[in-house]
Each structure stands twice: as structure tokens, then as C-alpha cells.
């Protein structure tokens, strides 16, 4: 359920006006706005935020692993609007079994490397990504280092 405080946020109003199903949750905490979008709608919401709400910059994309909780993964997008001078955090929750989400490279080209990094370190797959390969780890690396079940220390077998 969305609180009254979050409903009065201009970005939230714009998203809800387009389609009420685009938002499942949202909060304003420590002066920062976080919106939770269903994974299947992320491209539509991103396009709307870029064209209507002037979020021209995608600052970063990353993931959070909440294992053993379900949905296990969160993909976190940080947006920045130069003209409105505001920032926004958009999140999608993904299941642990088959973590897949549409790529945002068609909306912001900067998503390319950030999504590759998230894929490399969390194993989240981005559909329609032009070059979804490992970026930090060697190409033949097994496992996804930033997952919580991946040990911090140890030798490569």
C-alpha cells in the first residue's frame, strides 16, 4: 500500500497516472525517495521517467542479495535529473531461482556496463542486453562473487 506522503511525490503521481500497476511500493527515508517497480514494467517506467520526468542520467545500477529471503534479488537504479536537480532510486525485486529482467540499455546507454557488472557479480540476467558478458571477473570464472552464499575468503578450486 502506498502512503499518502509518497503519493504526493511528483514522480509517483506521473507514474500512477500512466498506469497504477507500475508501482508496488515506495518510501521517503532520510530525504531519499525509493520506488519499487514490478520487474516486467521496468522499461516502460524508465522510458516514462526519462521522457516525462527529465531523468536524463542513469547514475548507477547495482544489485542487493537478500538470501535466503524471497524475492531474493533487488536490482537498484539511481537516476538523476539535471534540470530538476533531484535524484530517485528505483528498485525491482527478482526471484532467486531465475533472476531475469529487461535491460535498460535502450533507454540509457550507460546501463550497458552497469548491467554487465550486476550480471557478473550477482548473476542477474538482463534480457536484450547487447553484450551480456563478464566485465570484472575473468571470462571463465565460476560463481557470482557478491552473492551472500559466496565466501569472502578461500582459494579457487
Amino acid at each position: 500500500m502506498l502512503s499518502e506522503e509518497i503519493k504526493s511525490h511528483p514522480d509517483v503521481a506521473a507514474i500512477l497516472a500512466a498506469n497504477p500497476e507500475y508501482l508496488v511500493d515506495g518510501k521517503i527515508d532520510r530525504g531519499e525517495t525509493t520506488l519499487v517497480v514490478p520487474a516486467e514494467h521496468i522499461v516502460a517506467v524508465a522510458q516514462l521517467l526519462k521522457s516525462k520526468q527529465e531523468y536524463v542520467r542513469l547514475s548507477t545500477v547495482t544489485g542487493v542479495d537478500w538470501a535466503p529471503a524471497e524475492p531474493r534479488f533487488e536490482v537498484v537504479y539511481h537516476l538523476h535529473s539535471l534540470s530538476r536537480n533531484v535524484r530517485l532510486r528505483v528498485k525491482c525485486r527478482l526471484p532467486g531461482a531465475n533472476a531475469e529482467i529487461d535491460s535498460l540499455t535502450g533507454v540509457w546507454r550507460s546501463a550497458n556496463w552497469y548491467e554487465r557488472e550486476t550480471f557478473d557479480l550477482f548473476g542477474v540476467r538482463f534480457r536484450n542486453h547487447p553484450d551480456l558478458t563478464r566485465i570484472m571477473m575473468p571470462e571463465d570464472w565460476q560463481g557470482y562473487p557478491l552473492r551472500k552464499d559466496y565466501p569472502v575468503t578461500g582459494t579457487r578450486v
Partner: protein, 410 residues
Amino acid sequence: MATREIIDDTLVVEGESDPDLVRPKRMTLNMGPQHPSTHGVLRLQLELDGETITWAKPDIGYLHTGIEKEFEAKTYHQGVTLTDRIDYLAPLSNNLCFALAVEKLMQIEIPEHAQWARVMLAELTRLNSHLVWLGTHAIDIGAMSVFLYCFREREEILRIFEMCSGQRMMTSYIRPGGLALALPRGWQNRVKKFIDVFPSRIDEYEDLLTNNKIWIGRTKGVGYISVEDMLDLGITGPMLRAAGVDYDARKQFPYSSYEKFDFKVPTRKENDVYARYLCRLEEMRQSARIIKQVVAGIPPGRHQADVPNMTLPDREKMKTQMEALIYHFKIVTEGYRVPAGEVYQVIESPRGEVGYYIVSDGTAKPYRCHVRGPSFGNLQAVPKLIEGTLIADVIAAIGSMDFVLGDCDR
């Protein structure tokens, strides 16, 4: 006489039956990861048509050390040391961003004295980083002597860091809750002596380069990339400002009392390597202005917030007061708990936008700490920057980005 012509992608020498002389027209060239002029382990795959680059692909990750994973295994107190090691030219900027993020999570205010000291240190870091950039960038393009002058001034900055923290580079001086130690006795004189001379030293660099014909020839009109591409590809910092976008987190999202200082954000319109050079030089002058304001008007006060369970107590108190000793023991052995929540703190580092995304689950260790390094965002634009240009311009173009591979790979 055999005639040579190019059919499709193959160079054909007519009347020549030797298959070795039939070669593809395009050549693939591997630049790095140990190329001496790339400053770090960046590998560039280039496809050349003659001397023109038709395709480029940067390959990164050679310096990936899993810093984000390591954050999760260390307490917030220990994590400060990791932030030093992300960007070896701007350790204090990373210290500052991490400290601000943790303070935002804990919702504590730190004394003005410490905030102003942080501003001074962050600006000295900017000078330090820009000096190394200028020196190495000039060497790349063939101006050897600038490097020596830049490192002369940089040495003085490193000595100031050493005076404050005991370390020249891995300072860990800005910590959540304030500074590690109070500013040392006599810091004002030391900084003032340096900063009074520094603007004339910038004039010296300008004498060597700004009207130098070779410098202008190598940098003017080189490395153009449109503003739309820059924003779309995630470029920040002086590169963006040299294209006319006046985005600077110090002005747009003021932190650590930057709003109280009088300084300008220099921008240029030309959007080439030369404009980025002029932009960074002007930034150095503005940083010097800020540092002067700090030295002249720093408010008196403590170097740490009054949060005894988070900031390490003074040495003297530890020897005489039981509570101080207990707090010290607890901070060092278990760390301090940070309330659950998440923040994304952004600051303006010498290279552009640094962002720390910290997720806390209420324990003494970050649940997740993501670092948005400016070099990562900037390097993504390398293909756009150099495709279609000459190979001789690659070094000038990527040098103007001022990236640090440690910051990119983390």
C-alpha cells in the same frame, strides 16, 4: 608493376600470386594492458583502417579486487581503510563520501569545524589529483618538464596530508563522525604558505602549455563527444563541464558546508581536450580560493561529533577515564551499530561523481556497499570518443578523461 587496390575488406595486389600479400584491409591493434602511456591496466582493442580507428572496445577488470565484497565482511570503522584504496589519487574524497553516507544513515551532524576541515582536505585532494593528471597528460603529449613542476607542488600537498594523518596517501583521515585526529598544531601556517604561492605556480604551468603551439596542435579539436552522448553514457566531472554543462555536486547537492563557500564552477563550450585542460586549471584556482577561505575563517570547535559510541576517544581520556576505555574497546572489537536503511550519497571528486550506496541491516557491518566510481562511467564512453579519429589522438583523448583504473575496477 603490380597495382594495389582494396576490394571489400581485402587488399588485393594484382598480378601477385603470393597469398601472404593478400591481407585484410582492417587491422586489429591491442593497446595495453601494459602500454606505458595508459597509466594503469586498461586494455583497448582497436580496429584500424589505415590510421583511423573504426571500432574500439575497452576491456577493464584487471584491477578488480572485490572491495565491495570486502566491505560486507568489515565493520564500518574498518571499512574506511578500503575507501582509501579505491582511488589512489583521491583517497580523502572517498573517505569523505563514505563518512557522509554513514552519517546520513546514523542521522548525526558533525561540528562545523570538522566540516570545514573536510572541505579543505577534499580540495587539497582535488589539487593533488589534478596535478598528477596534468603532469602525466603533458608527458603523454610530449611536454616532459611540466611533470616535474606538478610533482614539486604535489609533494607539498602530500606532506600536509602526512602532517594531518601520518600517511601520505592511504590517509583514512576522514571517518564517520568527524576526523580521525584533531588538525595538527601549525597546520594553518603550513597550508597558508602553500596556498599563497600556489596560484603563481598555476601561472607557471600555463606559461609552459596554454600558448604552446605543439600543445594546442595536439589538443584543440581533439576528443569531441556531444553533450547528449556524454549524459547518456554517464560521463561526469570536468569532462562534462568542458562541454558546457555546469553540473557539480558541490553546488547542486551541497554537502559538508560547501554552500558557505564562495567559488565558481568553471565551464567551457569547446568540448575538446584543450577545453578540459583549461577547465581543470581553472578548477585548481577555485580550489585554492576555497582553501584560503577555510584557513581564514574556520570556526573553532571539535574535530568529532559528540557520539561516544561511534568516534574513538582521545588518547588522554582513555588513560584516565574508564568509560572512554570501554567505548574504545567496543568500537575496535565489535564496531558500532548503524540503523537499518539505505542511502546513496554523492560527492564531487576530482574525476566526477562519486556515489556510495550503503544498505544497512542494523548491524555493525554494511549489508551492501556499492561504489559508483566516476572512472567507470567515463570509460564507458571511450568508443564514442575515439571512433573515427586518428590513432595518434587516442592517448590525448583518453588522457583528457583522467581515469584511475582502481576507481573503475574496485
